[in-house]
């Protein structure tokens, strides 16, 4: 059985409506979305940099890492030693010199120290050694010299001597520091 029927539109069939004001308003709303701000910009480095000179190469097999740490105040006890600023990246275990940088807030710093960590020992009080610090006389362990980091600038030339054959334990560091 086959028959044909005509299809009549029902009353809800949609009738186009035109309204130019509304159309232009909608376009304006789209255009407002294209405003632009807040992009990432170049940021000048703010911190300290220099050259680490190794008096001898560290023992690569027992070295977990070497980093440079900065302190606002000279530590007076073991707990103070944990109050360091974000450290430098790990530094080379081989060679006789390496550049370093430490990003720091603009302030006066009392102590900048090269820290060596023993591999396989997670007790930091035992595993950490001081290999040298920034001094006015250019050696590894004489009186620490302070330095200032200015806003939006790099305090360059803070060079440090690291002596991996005569490193100091935490207890020895606390004895030596004023």
């Amino acid at each position: 059985m086959h028959s044909s029927f005509s299809a009549a539109p029902v009353s809800s069939d949609f009738k186009p409506v035109r309204n130019r004001n509304l159309q232009l308003g909608f376009l304006l709303a789209l255009a407002l979305c294209a405003a632009c701000a807040d992009a990432l910009d170049p940021v000048p480095f703010q911190g300290v940099s220099g050259i680490l000179t190794y008096l001898s190469e560290p023992d690569s097999a027992s070295t977990d890492w070497i980093r440079v740490l900065a302190y606002r105040d000279l530590p007076q006890g073991e707990l103070d030693l944990l109050a360091f600023e974000p450290p430098s990246d790990t530094l080379p275990r081989q060679g006789l010199s390496a550049p370093y940088v430490v990003a720091l807030e603009p302030e006066e710093y009392a102590w900048l120290v090269v820290v060596w960590k023993e591999r396989g020992n997670d007790n930091l009080l035992e595993a950490l050694r001081a290999a040298g610090w920034y001094t006015a006389s250019g050696d590894a362990f004489s009186a620490p010299a302070s330095f200032r980091v200015a806003a939006d600038s790099e305090s360059a030339g803070i060079n440090v001597i690291a002596d991996f054959e005569n490193m100091l334990t935490i207890a020895e560091v606390l004895e030596v520091l004023p």
């Binding site: 029927f5 299809a7 186009p16 509304l22 159309q23 632009c36 990432l40 990003a103």
Partner: protein, 732 residues
């Protein structure tokens, strides 16, 4: 209970012959009212039933089993004004119609399969769906389909992670909460669960469906946040060869202090495809190759891919085979260079386009191969079956300094499904799915996963104004053959949905369902140390679960403005997120369960067609509110505001398109949080395109990131800078 079910089944069965006698057939053609040419893929639905069909290439359609009497037929298609017609259907008779559609209405959203595993008009889906049609994909001259998916409303790419409605954060592509389907077949990587967009045959994509909200009731694990289904084109009836040549170059960085390369950096690619019929067999075959210098140091990429599709269609059976292989070889810097890590004559705190010395040679090679075979059989009466088998291999190797990492993951999958329409008011889908994944990797170890699932879904056309969908899926996962009885790795995910037709141009939808995702092998077992990041395994990780729901309304406000507004939520339990700890050994990352977390929001989308359809556009805004309930903090890598806007001006063969995407700065990230060097900025990207069509040949130009706006979505990784691309698309 069993007696009741038996009575219902018998009653249903007994009703079938009677229903057949009291029904008729509605058939005919859909035509363009202005040109009289056939309109293909127009959706035709008998109001108040689950009867639905789509016009074929010649505009013809046929609806069987239409209840006798005076019936209303709803007809719609993208680019045409929808129509509602009244039809008198005689018992056992055929009503032949010729339906003319006016071609000047706002785009309505097209066809979607992934929402319910059944072809539906987007307007009839009980969940929010965004569909990107072929023209929209090509307009943006994408390198992979991901470049086009990024423009869908409520979608944001955070690094490699595709993020729908803020459901995912960032995890370097691992454990994505978006299920990636290729022609409806799962295609997430077996080891990480990530999405490999380069396996998609870009020139042969018909459309991309983005289904929002938890889809676990149909798809199980991975579909917790949503589903992206890439539908490839059917092989053509007549021989067709397509060539797409694409080339472009990067502009200078927005700031001269960031310039790192002495020469202009560019990219180019070539794709060739050919499709034809070989007797009863339809076939297309394609291949592509591309090279990209990259816009940042060690950011180069070389890409090869090939794909094949065969289709054999008979009166009752359709057999389809898809195979693809893709290789990428690329530089893989993890983060940009901080002061002291690379040569920087400008002594900046960071150089966003340079990489640290020790990452200058880091590279990754990845190979992806997949094949799937699908078979659909239409049984006598309103029953059809669908079967598929699939295999996917992901094989990759990375070199980070002296460390080499790699993995091979093989995933075998299968599905058996029955689609049954016992009456004009009921459409049933039921089936089972299984997958076996084997992973061999130096950073995960050797592991296997077994996934088993059963699912069922009923669509009920209860009245002329209400359609209900109810379904559930039971999933079981075994890790390394782990016990079936372990309740941690099994889940029942129900979902209820409803679509109310308030009038001819207004639909209200609501859904509430359960989401489930079992942790991937990478989340459970990764143990590695790369580039200062140490990933720690957590084999006690539990699957994450959620309740997810939405309430939405869509309405054609005028002939030129269509509006959709939805409120949605995810209430997560045991949400898996990477937890980051800065230790003296570097940055430690471990995937952990957050006991309770929430994402909720509102999404509004407007589509328009103005000035006699010469100007088309859309504007979509999403507000997101996320919270880790144990800390009260926002979830990491989720923006609060997302906005996409696009406009295309059409004049004769010329198209001018503008796209704008905005995402507010994240409230929280997980690794680098120094406000001086890791400022959180919004994403603002403006793209301007131009195309000219002459018959089937098209030439396109696009400027991506025209504002040359510098931003990141993951820390210390600058998103692409301004680039100029031209493409030539030839078809003969």
């Amino acid at each position: 209970m069993r007696r009741l079910a038996l009575c219902l089944a018998l009653g249903l069965w007994a009703a079938l012959p009677a229903a057949a006698q009291q029904s008729g057939v509605v058939s005919g053609r859909v035509l363009d009212a202005s040109t009289g040419t056939p309109v293909s893929t127009a959706a035709l639905r008998v109001v108040g039933t689950v009867l639905l069909t789509f016009a074929d290439d010649s505009g013809r359609f046929e609806l069987r089993g239409v209840p006798a009497g005076r019936r209303r037929l709803w007809v719609e298609r993208i680019g045409y004004a929808p129509r509602e017609l009244e039809v008198m259907v005689g018992a056992g008779a055929r009503a032949e119609l010729e339906i003319a559609l006016e071609p000047q209405a706002v785009p309505l959203g097209g066809v979607v399969v992934a929402a319910t595993k059944r072809e539906l008009s987007v307007r009839d889906a009980p969940v929010s769906v965004a569909v990107l049609e072929q023209d929209e994909l090509r307009l943006r001259i994408p390198a992979t389909v991901a470049d086009a998916v990024a423009y869908a409303p409520s979608v944001q790419f955070v690094g490699e992670n595709v993020n729908i409605r803020g459901s995912s954060g960032y995890s370097r592509g691992t454990g994505t909460r978006v299920l990636f389907l290729l022609d409806g077949v799962p295609a997430n990587a077996g080891d990480s669960g990530g999405v490999n967009w380069d396996i998609v045959p870009l020139t042969e994509v018909s459309r991309v469906e983005v289904v929002k909200g938890a889809g676990s009731a149909l798809y199980g694990s991975s579909a917790l946040g949503g589903v992206v289904n890439v539908v490839t084109a059917e092989p053509p009836e007549q021989p067709v060869t397509r060539v797409r040549l694409r080339a472009g170059f990067y502009d200078d960085p927005p700031d001269p202090e960031w310039i790192w390369a002495s020469q202009t950096l560019g990219y180019y690619s070539a794709e060739l495809s050919h499709g034809r019929r070989l007797g009863p067999l339809g076939v297309w075959l394609r291949g592509g190759w591309g090279n990209d210098d990259g816009y940042r140091e060690n950011g180069d990429l070389e890409r090869w891919n090939t794909a094949l599709r065969l289709r054999l269609a008979g009166a009752a059976d359709t057999l389809s085979l898809f195979g693809s292989w893709a290789r990428e070889d690329y530089g893989a810097p993890i983060v940009w260079c901080m002061r002291g890590q690379c040569d920087d004559p400008n002594a900046l705190a960071f150089q966003p386009l340079r990489v640290p010395f020790d990452a200058a040679d880091d590279r990754t090679r990845s190979d992806k191969g997949r094949v799937h075979l699908t078979h659909r059989h239409r049984w006598s009466g309103p029953l059809s079956s669908f079967q598929r088998l699939s295999f996917q291999r992901n094989d990759w190797e990375s070199r980070f300094g002296e460390t080499r990492l790699g993995a091979v993951a093989d995933r075998f999958g299968g599905e058996l499904r029955l689609d049954w329409q016992p009456g004009s008011w009921l459409f049933l889908i039921m089936g089972g799915e299984g997958a076996y994944t084997q992973v061999e990797a130096d950073l995960y170890g050797s592991h296997d996963l077994t996934d088993l699932a059963l699912f069922a879904q009923a669509e009920l056309g209860l009245t002329s104004w209400l359609t209900l969908t109810a379904g559930a899926r039971g999933d079981v996962r075994l890790v390394d053959g782990g016990p079936l009885s372990d309740p941690r790795d099994s889940e029942l995910s129900p979902r209820l949905g409803a679509v109310l037709s308030l009038d001819a141009v207004t639909r209200v939808r609501a859904s509430l369902g359960r989401g489930f995702r079992a942790p991937t092998v990478a989340e459970l077992f990764t143990a590695t140390e790369v580039g200062g990041f140490r990933v720690v395994p957590n084999d006690a990780l539990r699957p994450e679960r959620c309740w997810a729901g939405e309430l939405g309304i869509q309405r054609l406000l005028t002939a030129w403005l269509w509006l959709d507004v939805a409120g949605f939520f995810y209430e997560f339990e045991d949400l898996i997120e990477g937890d980051t700890i800065l230790s003296e050994r570097g940055i430690e990352i471990q995937f952990e369960n957050l006991p309770e977390a929430r994402v909720r929001g509102v999404e509004a989308t407007a589509r328009t067609s103005l000035f006699g359809d010469r100007l088309r556009g859309h504007l979509a805004y999403t507000f997101l509110d996320s919270e880790d309930k144990s800390t009260g903090e926002p979830l990491a890598y989720r923006p609060q505001h997302l906005l996409t806007a696009s406009g295309t001006l059409l004049f004769r063969g010329l198209e001018i398109g503008v796209d704008y995407r905005y995402a507010s700065a994240f409230d929280r990230v997980q690794v680098f949080t120094d406000p001086r060097t890791d400022a959180l900025v919004p994403m603002r990207e403006l793209d301007i395109g131009l195309a000219y069509r002459l018959g089937h040949q098209t030439i396109r130009f696009i400027v991506d990131n025209a504002l040359n706006y510098a931003y990141t979505t993951i820390e210390r990784n600058l998103e692409p800078i301004r680039r100029y691309t031209a493409a030539l698309e030839l078809e003969f």
